[in-house]
């Protein structure tokens, strides 16, 4: 009976995670080594984008970011640079805005289009419509990076965290966390720093 209770509670927690509209993102989310879910989300050009669309990709930099967070804005140019640097090597940036536009009007689909055009985004900028994807990843802040490696088992989470160690000044960065992780992954080496923390804007639900 005890086993049943535990199982029941476990199933309940699982189902809550799957069905509540806005599960607490702190509760779960991916850990290093987990298989990340694919998605089909609307890009600013109107097309739906999935990871499975990228036949020749070796991996992905899935970055939860938005228009309105000062930290996310501080990293825009560096996200563009990451895409330029790694797209040709098979690891493109896929940016996802996880915020609810009803709560944060500056993050509406129209404003996303505007921002992407103004900044010249070279990567898809998707809206997590219905906010079902970011909780599965466990993203809690913007910007929040997930490096995925494409394997025969699926897209494996290799790195979670910040882009680098200096949001204020790109020229003063000492540790390029994401670059180091992608480089190691592409060389088939162990990623040294697999998770990092940063101050960021809470995702608006």
């Amino acid at each position: 009976m005890k086993t049943f209770k535990i199982l029941g509670l476990f199933a309940l927690i699982l189902s809550l995670g799957a069905f509540t509209l806005s599960p607490d993102p702190m509760d779960d989310g991916y850990k290093i080594g987990d298989i990340a879910t694919d998605f089909s989300l609307k890009n600013i050009d109107g097309n739906m984008v999935s990871l499975s669309d990228y036949d020749s990709a070796k991996g992905f930099l899935v970055i939860f970011t938005c228009n309105t967070c000062p930290y996310a804005v501080a990293y825009e140019d560096r996200i563009i640079a990451l895409d330029e640097q790694y797209k040709s090597k098979g690891v493109p940036v896929i940016a996802i805005n996880p915020n609810n536009p009803d709560v944060q009007s500056g993050d509406s689909f129209e404003k996303m289009k505007q921002r992407a055009a103004d900044k010249g985004f070279t990567f898809p900028y998707l809206l997590d419509e219905g906010q079902e994807i970011f909780p599965q990843y466990g993203a809690t802040r913007t910007p929040h990076v997930y490096l995925l490696e494409k394997t025969s088992q699926g897209n494996v989470v290799r790195y979670i965290g910040a882009i680098d160690d200096n949001y204020q000044d790109a020229s003063k960065v000492e540790d390029t966390f994401v670059e180091d992780a992608v480089d190691a992954m592409l060389e088939g080496q162990e990623i040294e720093v697999k998770t990092t923390r940063a101050i960021g804007c809470t995702i608006k639900v």
Partner: protein, 184 residues
Amino acid sequence: MKNLLLLGVVSLIVLSSCKNKDEKEEAEDTAVESQVAENQSTNEEAVKFPIYNFENFEPLLHKEGDKTYVVNFWATWCKPCIAELPYFEKVNAEQKDKVEVILVSLDMPNMWKSRLEPFVENKGIKSEVVILDDPKQNDWIPKVAEEWGGGIPATLIYNKDKRNFYERGFTYEELNTELNKFLN
């Protein structure tokens, strides 16, 4: 099987009531428009609050006086942070002999003159305000609290005997409930 169902229903109620609360709190959270961050330049005039890097700031996390210290991490661009500031102010005023509140602003340098100073002045904030300006967040966040993911609002309460960290917002009642654990 009946027990199983009962357990399920009870935990569903408990869990969903917690969630509703979280939703409300998080729904209030918004950030500033990106334009604000970009258009404002740093004024040359000296900022009114002490500016610390983490090394210089760290002693504020380990004061050895007889008071209970409430260290709140916030920023003017963080709506739920601003929502709870009055409660910290109230506690600071009401229990001045026993409690000391330190409001740690994580505003960016270009916001210090343009947003932070006017905000503190307009709200008439009496608690001590300091600026923590240290971009090496991945190094210092775990030194504040190992469990801190980096979200704000976040608050550390400590005295000589114990310390607790909260990565969440407070109501006035919730803040007092936590504080009482330190005062009694």
